[in-house]
């Protein structure tokens, strides 16, 4: 088991947003974290990457926890945030170099991987530009390059499709596929449900800070007793049920 979240209770202030969230991601598996706005997707991810401290519950990554081995734990994670976060003072080249330095990567090997990614996203001629002035989609591509260049064991991807052009969405899905083959665990939050349905191996459906359902598409259909319906319809059904309560 690469990532194991057990009975996580957490949130930003005193009030818990997440209530007993449990989920797992195995190596080589893409798990989709599905939920409406405010369901707790980003909060869950923020706990996993260590920005928030859990009130109770545990998060372990290949046997490591943030409290006991902070550096080793962080070493294994790469993160693509929902909105691109860049340094105003660094050029694209320097963003990549900083990431290499921070993760202690071998520069030559990392640059080889980086060049491939830059070429794929047509950024290879903008190495000396300041990405802070890029468009939203291009910024997002920079974030993807930085994260996918590392050799992290767990990739956390928060709403990656927003702002990307269709070609880039396709390329990103290919990249995730490649990472999976290398044995990387991927946890992706999204509400683009038809894409999620096609690419994710398993799903965790969040609503109001709780896991409402989890499993493969077949398992979800079985649980919801809707054998032919798409992920979209299953989720809408669940979400409506919650609102009626």
């Amino acid at each position: 088991m690469a990532l194991e979240v057990k009975k996580l209770v957490g949130g930003y202030s005193q009030i818990p947003v997440l209530k007993q969230v449990s989920l797992t991601v195995k190596p080589g598996e893409l798990v989709g974290l599905i939920g409406l706005n405010g369901a707790g997707k980003s909060t869950t991810l923020n706990h996993i990457i260590g920005l928030l401290r859990p009130f109770s519950g545990t998060i372990t990554l290949n046997g490591l926890t943030l409290a006991n081995n902070p550096a080793e734990y962080k070493q294994q994670i790469a993160y693509v945030p929902e909105t691109p976060i860049l340094y105003d003072e660094l050029t694209l080249r320097e963003h990549l170099e900083l990431t290499m330095n921070a993760y202690g990567l071998d520069h030559q090997a990392a640059w080889q991987r980086a060049r491939k990614l830059l070429k794929l996203f047509r950024l290879d001629n903008k190495l000396d530009w300041f990405p802070a002035n890029f468009s939203k989609g291009m910024k997002q591509k920079v974030m993807i390059c930085c994260a996918f260049m590392t050799n992290a064991k767990l990739l956390i991807v928060d709403e990656p499709f927003y702002g990307l052009d269709p070609l880039a969405v396709h390329d990103l899905l290919d990249l995730i596929e490649q990472k999976k083959k290398e044995g990387v665990a991927v946890l992706m939050s999204t509400h683009v449900l038809d894409t999620a349905q096609r690419y994710c191996d398993r799903f965790v459906l969040l609503a109001n800070g709780q896991v409402r359902a989890h499993g493969t598409l077949a398992e979800l259909r079985q649980q919801a007793d809707r054998p032919d319906e798409s992920l979209d319809e299953i989720y809408l059904g669940l979400a409506r049920d919650d609102q009626d309560e």
């Binding site: 962080k74 070493q75 993160y79 340094y87 660094l90």
Partner: protein, 402 residues
Amino acid sequence: MSRLFTKRRQRHFMMLLKYWRLVFNDHFVIALFFLFGALAYGYSEWLPTLSANQWWTRWLLIIWFVLLAQLGRLATLIKRPDPVFLLPQVKAMDGYLNRAYAYSLLLAGLMTVAGTFAALPFALTTERLSSLDIVAVFLTALVTKDDWLFTARKSISLRWAKQRWRTQVEYWLNPLLAAATTWLVSPLFGLAVAVILDVAMRLVYRDLTIDWQAAVRMESNRMYSVYRFFNLFTDVPSVQGSVKRRRWAAGLIRWLSNGNHPWAYLYARGFVRNTDISGIVIRLTLLAMVLVFLVPVQWLNTVLVILFIYLIATQLLPLYRQYDANVFTHLYPVQPKERVRDFQRLLTRVTVVEAALIVLASIGLNFNWRGCLINLALAAIEVGILTRFYFKLRIKKLSEEY
């Protein structure tokens, strides 16, 4: 609408108060006290050496009063969303702006009076002035300021906003005319010129319906410079300095970074390229160099050297938390200890360079080797204390706050 202005003014005051409290922190008050004392002392030493009838004294007075008129801007407290939310209230905005004008005039008037007071001892030494003349000088300065503020007021009206160059000319030419007549002809004539200009402006520029874009631009520029001032002393969230690539400084960046250390990599680039941080360090260093170059009194010179080294060093500290808002700095698998060490390294290097430059400049016009050596010894001790103890303490405090 005038209630709206009153409410905003109160909130504005509270915000200013909050920041002033941070500006006048423990050490800065002492530094300011010394600086002010030194200036006053220098001024009083300088006055008796002046003899009347030197050609430049009148021009100095003219320059002083023209610059004084530029001090104190029109504070409208208009906010960015106003054009959307207050759009139906265009007529009522006149009342709002009148309140804003009165408030600005009061503040600017106080500054003008203070500035005139400061110039008075000088004027009385070099000119022969009757008490009526003195009253006229004060009134001229105030009327000129009113004229200046009215220029600002009409520059944010739909009808006159486009004539930017004309506004700029009026900002400078009107005070110049009034000040020149005051000191080259007579203060009473100066007052007459100022009043005529003020009245003429109001007759020429009527129809002052607000130009939202210009008003928002002017106010956000003003607030930006206010925040920038406060940002010298503390962190103001809304101030983000602009970034310049500065390719020529690549060597400096390399010298300030530390191998593959990520934090040193980031801090070195942040320091060199962020125009706010490097700008203030460069400006203060240059100012210090000029001051210690010109001040011949040995003890004052040494005090200035020591004060400025300290002052500049403290300006660097906010850089430590510059990147706290960036998630990735929390995600990097790097020990916090390394961050502190890297930051301290950068601080030490910058402080040593800046101290060396100031000491070098303190040699002065007449090559005072002895004074320069004394400064060097004291500065070395100070830099040692700053880097070994003071920075450690402050960084510890900064990291605990988070």
